[in-house]
C-alpha cells in the first residue's frame, strides 16, 4: 500500500497515527483531508487551547454573559431584553497574498459568524498593521486591504465605526488584518450551531461551491511563509458581498419565522467544518449526500468539495415540515438552497458520493477532540537586555524649538497621522444609527431608536508594549480599549480578542503567547469583564523572524442613552481643559522614543487597574450628568498626540500650561489618563475628588493655535498640514483635492 500524503496536508506523523487509531483503519482520502483541515492550528487551536482555558478559569462573576466561549461568538446582555454579539477575527495570511480579496473575505467571514448567532450585524471595525509605511510592499498591500475592507463592508451596508492603523517593520511580510463585527438581537433569538432531531434536514444555502480557498486554513493560516515555493494565490477565497447581503436578509427572515433548529456558517475548512461541528455539538449523527452540493466546477473531487472555502455559504438544520417555507424565503431573496443530508441516529458523520461511502467518522474526533499540545516555552533571551535599555538614556529636546519639532514629528508619524485617507473609504453612515465613528476613541451605535440604548466598541493593540513585556502588554491593551469605551460615556461590559503571534513551534513565541493570555485573563478578572470569545492567529512570521506579539483587544460597552455620548473634539472656545489621572516619567515603548529615536526598550508604563476602574466610573458619571463637552484618552504619543487630535477635530485651539517637566508632561505614556473639557470645572473637580481621581487644570480652549506657555506655540494650520499630509503623500492624492474636471476629459457621447 502506498503511503498517504498526510505530511503534504500538514499532519504530523503522530497525528496521522491517531487518525488511523480512531477509525481502526486507514482513512479514505476524503477523511484524511477533513481531519487535516479540522486539526490545523487555525481550526483546532491545538497550540493555544491549554492557555486559553484561563479565560474561563479566571472569569469574573458575571450575569451579562448569555452565551460564552466556544460558540461562533459570545453573546452579552445589554439590557431591555436586547443582546449583543461581537467578535474579532484575523485574515492576516490571505491579505498578504491577495490584499483585496483577503481583507474582503475577512470581513465577510466575521459578519457570517455574527449572523450565525441569530443577530442582525450592525457595524464593523478593522484593526490593520503593515510594514514600514514607506516600504514598497506596503504600497502594494495597504491600498488593497483598505479597498477590500471598504468594498465588502460598504456593499453589505454595515457602517465601519473605527479601528486601528499602525506600521512597524515586523509586519513587512506579515500584515495583520483583524476585522470585528457586532450584531444585535433579542434574548430569545439566540441561535446555536448544533444538529439535533433525527430526520431533520441539512440545508446548504448561499453561493455555489467552487475551487477557491481549498486548504486555506492548513496551507495559509497554519504555516510560515517561505521565501521559496510556489505562489499561494489559489488558496485565497474570492468574495461576493452582494450574495452575502442577500444571505443576511434571507437568514434574518428565516430566524424571524423560526425555521431552523441549528445553524452554522461556512468559513475556514468549509463544509468539513460546518458538518462536523454541527453534528458534534448535537446528538452526533449526520448523513450528507455530496452529489447534491451545487458546484461552480464539476471537476472538483469530493475532498475538494468538503475543503473548499468558497464564501457566502451557510448550513442550517431544518425540521422536515419547515423545509418548504425555508426554501421559499431563500427563493424570495434569490438565494440558492439545497437539502444535502439529514440528522441521523447514532454518532457517525457519513458522506456518500457517487454511490460510495467516502466518509464514516465520529464527528467529535474531527471537530472537538483534535490534538492538544502543551508546547515548550522559553523566556526570550533578548528580553533582559531589551528591558534594561531604558529610554532615559535618549537625548531629550532641550529647547522649546526642539520640543515643538518632536511634537510635530510624533503627530505626523504614520502611526500618529490623520487616518482620513483610509476611513474616508468606509461608509460610516449606513443604517442611520452611527452616533460616533472614527476618529473617535470608540465607535458608538444606537441599537434602539425608542429608548436610545446603544453600544460602544474599541479595539486596541500596542505591540511595542507587548514586545517589552507580553503579560503587561496584553493588560495595557485591554486597559486602553476599556478607557476608550469609557471616555465615550459607556459602561464597559465584555471583552473579545485577536491574538496575533509568530510560530508556536518556537518556544520564545509560545512564551510570549502564554504570558499575553495570562495577563489578559488576570486583568479581565480584576476589571470584572468576561472574555466572550476570540481568535488566535499563529505563524505570523517570515522565515525565523516573528512579528511583535500583537494581542488586539476589543471592549464592548453599553450606553443607556446614546444622547449622553461624549465626543473627543473641542468645539467651543472658552471651556476649561482638565487632565484626569496622574503623569509619571514613563517613556518605555513610547511613540516619542520610536518616532524620534527609532528606539524600543525599557519597561512599558505601569498599570493600575483599580485606578482605571475608578476613572471609567468617573467618566460614566460625568457623561450621565452632562458635565463634559469632550473627553479624549491619552495613549500612544501621550498628551501631545491627544491635544493635537482634540484641537484638529473641529479646528479649535487652546492656551494651556503644564507643570513640572514639559517634555514628560507632553510625551509620557502613563496610563489611566484622559483629557476632558467642561464649562463647569468646579463640578467636575468635585465629582473627581469624590471618585479619587486626580485632576490637573491645563487651560482654556480657544484661538487657532495650541499654545503651551513657555514651551510651544503651534498654529493649527501648521499642525494640520503636518498631521494630514502623511498618508496621502505615501499612498496617493486625497480626493479632497479633486477639483472640477475640465470639459473634454471624459467621453462626451
Amino acid at each position: 500500500m502506498t503511503e498517504q500524503p498526510y505530511a503534504e496536508l500538514g499532519l504530523k506523523d503522530d497525528e496521522y497515527a491517531r487518525i488511523c487509531d480512531i477509525l481502526g483503519r486507514r482513512p479514505t482520502d476524503t477523511e484524511l483531508a477533513m481531519y487535516s483541515v479540522m486539526w490545523s492550528e487555525h481550526c483546532s487551536y491545538k497550540s493555544s487551547k491549554v492557555h486559553l482555558r484561563q479565560f474561563g478559569d479566571k472569569a469574573p462573576e458575571t450575569d451579562v454573559l448569555l452565551v460564552g466561549m466556544g460558540e461562533n461568538a459570545g453573546v452579552v446582555d445589554v439590557g431591555d431584553g436586547l443582546a449583543v454579539t461581537f467578535k474579532v477575527e484575523s485574515h492576516n495570511h490571505p491579505s498578504y497574498v491577495e490584499p483585496y480579496q483577503g481583507a474582503a473575505t475577512g470581513v465577510g467571514g466575521i459578519v457570517r459568524d455574527i449572523l450565525t448567532m441569530g443577530a442582525r450585524p450592525v457595524a464593523v471595525m478593522d484593526s490593520l498593521r503593515f510594514g514600514r509605511a514607506d516600504a514598497p510592499d506596503t504600497a502594494r498591500v495597504l491600498p488593497g486591504v483598505v479597498a477590500g475592507v471598504g468594498g465588502y463592508g460598504n456593499c453589505l451596508g454595515l457602517p465601519n465605526i473605527g479601528g486601528e492603523l499602525l506600521f512597524d517593520d515586523c509586519y513587512a511580510g506579515n500584515p495583520l488584518v483583524n476585522a470585528l463585527c457586532v450584531g444585535v438581537m433579542k434574548h430569545e433569538d439566540v441561535r446555536l450551531a448544533k444538529a439535533e432531531g433525527v430526520g431533520n434536514k441539512v440545508i446548504l444555502f448561499g453561493a455555489r461551491t467552487g475551487g477557491d480557498g481549498i486548504g486555506g486554513v492548513s496551507v495559509l493560516a497554519s504555516e510560515t511563509f517561505d521565501a521559496e515555493g510556489p505562489a499561494k494565490r489559489p488558496s485565497v477565497q474570492v468574495g461576493d458581498p452582494f450574495t452575502e447581503k442577500l444571505l443576511i436578509e434571507a437568514c434574518l427572515e428565516i430566524f424571524a419565522a423560526d425555521l431552523v433548529t441549528g445553524i452554522q456558517d461556512l468559513g475556514g475548512a468549509g463544509l468539513s467544518c460546518a458538518t462536523s461541528e454541527l453534528a458534534s455539538a448535537g446528538t452526533g449523527g449526520m448523513h450528507v449526500d455530496l452529489d447534491t452540493v451545487p458546484l461552480r466546477d464539476s471537476t472538483l473531487t469530493p475532498a475538494e468539495i468538503l475543503m473548499s472555502e468558497s464564501q457566502e455559504r451557510m448550513c442550517a438544520i431544518v425540521e422536515p415540515a419547515k423545509v418548504e417555507q425555508f426554501l421559499a424565503v431563500c427563493r424570495k431573496w434569490d438565494v440558492l438552497a439545497t437539502v444535502i443530508g439529514e440528522v441521523t441516529d447514532g454518532d457517525r458523520l457519513t458522506v456518500d458520493w457517487h454511490g460510495e461511502r467516502i466518509v464514516d467518522v465520529p464527528p467529535r474526533t474531527v471537530a472537538h477532540e483534535g490534538p492538544v499540545y502543551d508546547r515548550p516555552m522559553a523566556r526570550p533571551q533578548y528580553l533582559d537586555a531589551l528591558q534594561a535599555d531604558d529610554p532615559a538614556r535618549l537625548p531629550r529636546p532641550s529647547t522649546p524649538a526642539e520640543l515643538q519639532a518632536h511634537w510635530l514629528a510624533v503627530v505626523a508619524s504614520p502611526d500618529g497621522a490623520d487616518k482620513t485617507w483610509v476611513t474616508e473609504q468606509y461608509d460610516r453612515y449606513v443604517r442611520g444609527n452611527t452616533v460616533l465613528a472614527q476618529p473617535e476613541d470608540a465607535g458608538v451605535v444606537r441599537i434602539d431608536e425608542e429608548t436610545h440604548r446603544g453600544i460602544a466598541l474599541a479595539l486596541d493593540g500596542n505591540a511595542r508594549y507587548a514586545r517589552l513585556d507580553p503579560y503587561a502588554g496584553a493588560q495595557l491593551n485591554l486597559a486602553e480599549a476599556y478607557r476608550n469605551v469609557a471616555v465615550s460615556g459607556a459602561r464597559p461590559l465584555a471583552v473579545t480578542n485577536c491574538l496575533n503571534f509568530g510560530s508556536p513551534e518556537e518556544p520564545e513565541v509560545m512564551w510570549q503567547f502564554a504570558e499575553a493570555v495570562r495577563g489578559l485573563a488576570d486583568a479581565c478578572g480584576v476589571l470584572g469583564l468576561p472574555v466572550t470569545g476570540g481568535n488566535v492567529s499563529l505563524y505570523n512570521q517570515t522565515g525565523d523572524v516573528a512579528i511583535n506579539p500583537t494581542p488586539v483587544i476589543g471592549v464592548l460597552g453599553v450606553h443607556d442613552d446614546v444622547r449622553q455620548r461624549v465626543p473627543s473634539g473641542w468645539r467651543t472656545p472658552g471651556e476649561t481643559v482638565l487632565l484626569l489621572g496622574a503623569t509619571r516619567a514613563e517613556l518605555g515603548g513610547s511613540a516619542w522614543a520610536s518616532v524620534v529615536h527609532g528606539h524600543l526598550g525599557g519597561r512599558p508604563p505601569a498599570l493600575d487597574l483599580e485606578a482605571e476602574r475608578k476613572l471609567a466610573d468617573l467618566l460614566g458619571a460625568l457623561a450621565r450628568e452632562g458635565q463634559l463637552t469632550s473627553a479624549h484618552d491619552l495613549s500612544d504619543g501621550g498628551l501631545a498626540q491627544a491635544l493635537a487630535e482634540s484641537a484638529l477635530r473641529y479646528g479649535v485651539g487652546a492656551r494651556l500650561s503644564v507643570g513640572g517637566d514639559p517634555f514628560v508632561a507632553l510625551f509620557s505614556e502613563s496610563t489611566g489618563r484622559v483629557v476632558v473639557t467642561t464649562s463647569d470645572p468646579d463640578a467636575v473637580r468635585t465629582t473627581a475628588d469624590w471618585a479619587g481621581v486626580p485632576v490637573t487644570e491645563l487651560g482654556t480652549t480657544g484661538g487657532d493655535a495650541l499654545v503651551v506657555d513657555g514651551v510651544a506655540e503651534l498654529p493649527l494650520s501648521e499642525l494640520r498640514a503636518a498631521w494630514s499630509a502623511t498618508l496621502p503623500a505615501l499612498f496617493g492624492t486625497p480626493e479632497a483635492t479633486v477639483g472640477t474636471v475640465p470639459a473634454g476629459t471624459v467621453p462626451t457621447s
Binding site: 468594498g151 474616508e424 473609504q425 468606509y426 461608509d427 453612515y429 449606513v430 443604517r431 442611520g432 472640477t740
Partner: protein
Amino acid sequence: MTARIGVVTFPGSLDDRDALRAVRVAGAEPVSLWHGDHDLRSVDAVVLPGGFSYGDYLRAGAIASFAPIMVEVVAAAGKGLPVLGICNGFQVLCEAGLLPGALIRNAGLHFVCRDQRLRVESADTAWTSEYAAGAEIVVPVKNGEGRYVAHEATLDELEATGRVAFRYVGGNPNGALRDIAGIRNEAGNVVGLMPHPEHAIDPLTGPSADGLGMFVSVLKQLTAA
C-alpha cells in the same frame, strides 16, 4: 391626512431603512415597496434608496432599472408622481431614462465617504421647496461611482433650463462635471442626487439635519394638494 411615501427595496439596497426612517421623521407614512412587484401600493411619492442594487454588476443601477417595479415608477413619474433617487437610486433613474446623463467611477478611483457641502440650485421642485435657492447644506456623500457626466450639450441645457438641483461646494468629491451633485427633470417631480439626505435628519446620527427638508418638501406639497 398625511401622505404615503414608498421606498423601493431592490436586492442589495442598503439605505432603504434609512429612507423609511426619514419619511417617518418628516411626518409622512412610510411604505415598503418590493422590486419584484408591479404594485406601487397607492403611494403618493417614491424614493429609490442608496445601496448596491444587484451588487452594481454590469453598471451601477443598470439591472435595477429593469425591475418590475420600475415599469410602474417610470409610468407614474410621467404622470407627475414625485420620485427621489438617492445615490444608487439616482443611478437607477439615469439608467431608466428618467434623468439624463450617467454616474461613473469617482475620479480618485476610491469610494469616498465625506460630510459634503452642497448648494441648492433649484428650489422649485417637489423635493426642494423647503430650501431657499442658493442655500448651502451639509449632507453625507458616500459612493464609488458618483461622478456625474453627460454630453456637453446636455450639461449646457441642464444649466440653461435650471435643471441642476444641487452642486458640490468646497471641494468636488468625485470629479462630477460642473460640480453637479444632483439634477431634476423639467416638471420638477423627479430629482436625483448622489449625496444622502436621509443620513442628515438628526445631528445625533449625521452631520446635520439639513437633509430632512427634502422629505418635508414633498410632504407639504402632497398634503397641500
